[in-house]
């Protein structure tokens, strides 16, 4: 069994965290505006990370004390330590005097107008906790965002927001909607599926054959590009509603699929809708950290 010792990135809802090796998200709640993610190591809960995007700048010390007092009774602590600075825009307080010592950190990412609260769920080294807080980055509403969770990793243009993610044993599916310029109307949908045991799934067939076998009967397949480990095709079928069929508006699905032979995973990217279809989102070969850093540098360049 391979243990992931490469940098463990969690990019979710526009916030990117550099997790220690072996840590993984086990619970995700909320949306781009406000939410929380629970991180665990094996069966041990480690930290809860909550975020909220508001234009108003909070007083970090007051926020940290409020969170600390809300959880002081559950932890069994008698005191809250004075706030200690953590980087230029963060503070850390500790719940002391109880059977365990729990730390709580607050960070304000001004560029993204995001306030992020970190709460230890079990005791751990403070150096690790501080490193987690200081390594976090966030993007603003109108910026491109990286999404990296449970093996799915994509860099999406602005205003793509996740609608949900389904994680099963050997299968991950994420759904994103595109809100053009942040408006309410959705014009495109992106579905990413990542399957384990690609060789078992394909069973000797090529990608185009496998994808076509899953198409509906009335859909017409157009193959644009195919190689041994990737394929790009379009499925065109009748409109989903009678109104669309009356106006002769077909339903077009753009499919990209690629196989990662090393991990034996098959990823299928599907976009549909009236908006501009996304190009293939297959990540470049290389370490995720290098890919992320290049993306970050690119956003600030003219």
């Amino acid at each position: 069994m391979t243990r992931v010792d490469v940098p463990n990135l969690l990019a979710w809802q526009g916030c990117l965290h550099d997790l220690p090796p072996g840590w993984e998200p086990v619970g995700m709640y909320g949306s781009w505006r406000k939410g929380q993610v629970i991180i665990a190591e094996d069966r041990r809960p480690r930290v809860a990370i909550a975020w909220e995007r508001r234009a108003m700048t909070p007083v970090l010390e007051r926020t940290a004390n409020t969170v600390a007092k809300a959880h002081r009774r559950a932890v069994g602590a008698s005191q809250v330590s004075p706030p200690e600075p953590c980087g230029p825009d963060g503070v850390v307080v500790r719940l002391v005097g109880g059977p365990t010592e729990i730390a709580i950190g607050v960070r304000r990412v001004a560029q993204a107008q995001a306030t992020i609260v970190y709460r230890q769920l079990s005791p751990g080294p403070m150096v690790e906790f501080r490193r987690l807080i200081m390594a976090t980055t966030a993007v603003a509403d109108d910026e491109a965002a990286t999404w990296s969770i449970h093996g799915l990793r994509v860099d999406l243009p602005p205003y793509w927001r996740t609608e949900g993610i389904q994680v099963l044993a050997g299968f991950v599916r994420g759904v994103w909607f595109h809100y053009p310029h942040g408006k309410q109307r959705v014009d495109s949908v992106l579905i990413l599926r990542r399957y384990a045991c690609a060789s078992h799934l394909l069973a000797g067939r090529d990608l185009v054959t496998w994808l076509t076998s899953q198409a509906e009967k009335q859909e017409v397949t157009t193959v644009h590009d195919t190689t041994a480990t990737s394929a790009h095709l379009t499925l065109t079928g009748p409109g989903r509603t009678w109104w669309r069929r009356l106006r002769r508006r077909p339903q077009v699905r753009h499919l990209y699929a690629w196989v990662d032979s090393e991990s034996d995973r098959l990823t299928v990217q599907e976009t549909t809708g009236d908006g501009e279809p996304l190009a293939g989102l297959r990540p470049r070969v290389g370490s995720p950290r290098c890919a992320f850093l290049s993306t970050q540098e690119a956003t600030g360049m003219p």
Partner: protein, 144 residues
């Protein structure tokens, strides 16, 4: 929902249930047949009326066949590790997949999970024996 006995995956093994017959198909896949069900009394007539199958019979795919072939007394933990290595899965994925597969077979009385030793009782939470002094940082605590 009724919960079963909590087992330690490091000290539990899988084995075919009593009376289960296994055979290989032409394609090398495993077919398991559970022991026949013998309803008693009026239930027998009801089973005949509803055409209830006399026994459970399942045909496993290649991965299921591989898992059953590995049931040679190794623990569930080790079996999950081997499955993850065989299919290039992460540990959590392998454990979840094995748990789902096992529960489906147990429900059909095809496989038993045998505990080699009972699970250790959960440790008592550590309590501070001495009363903690009240400080000025906890103004909400009031003496009775």
């Amino acid at each position: 929902m009724k919960r079963g006995q909590t087992l330690d995956p490091r000290a539990s093994v899988l084995r075919l249930a009593t009376g289960v017959e296994s055979s290989l198909t032409d394609t090398g896949l495993l077919r398991l047949r559970a022991a026949p069900i013998k309803p008693w009394g009026p239930l027998r007539a009801l089973a005949w009326l509803l055409r209830v199958p006399r026994r459970a019979e399942v045909e496993l795919d290649a991965i299921g066949t591989w898992v059953i072939a590995q049931m040679d007394g190794r623990s569930l933990n080790q079996l999950a590790a081997d499955l993850g290595q065989h299919l290039k899965l992460s540990r959590r994925e392998a454990e979840t997949a094995l748990a789902d597969f096992t529960s489906m077979l147990v429900k059909r009385h095809l496989v038993d999970v045998v505990a080699l030793k009972p699970l250790d009782p959960p440790a008592e939470p550590v309590r501070d024996p001495a009363p903690r002094p009240r400080t000025s940082l906890s103004p909400q605590t009031t003496s009775p």
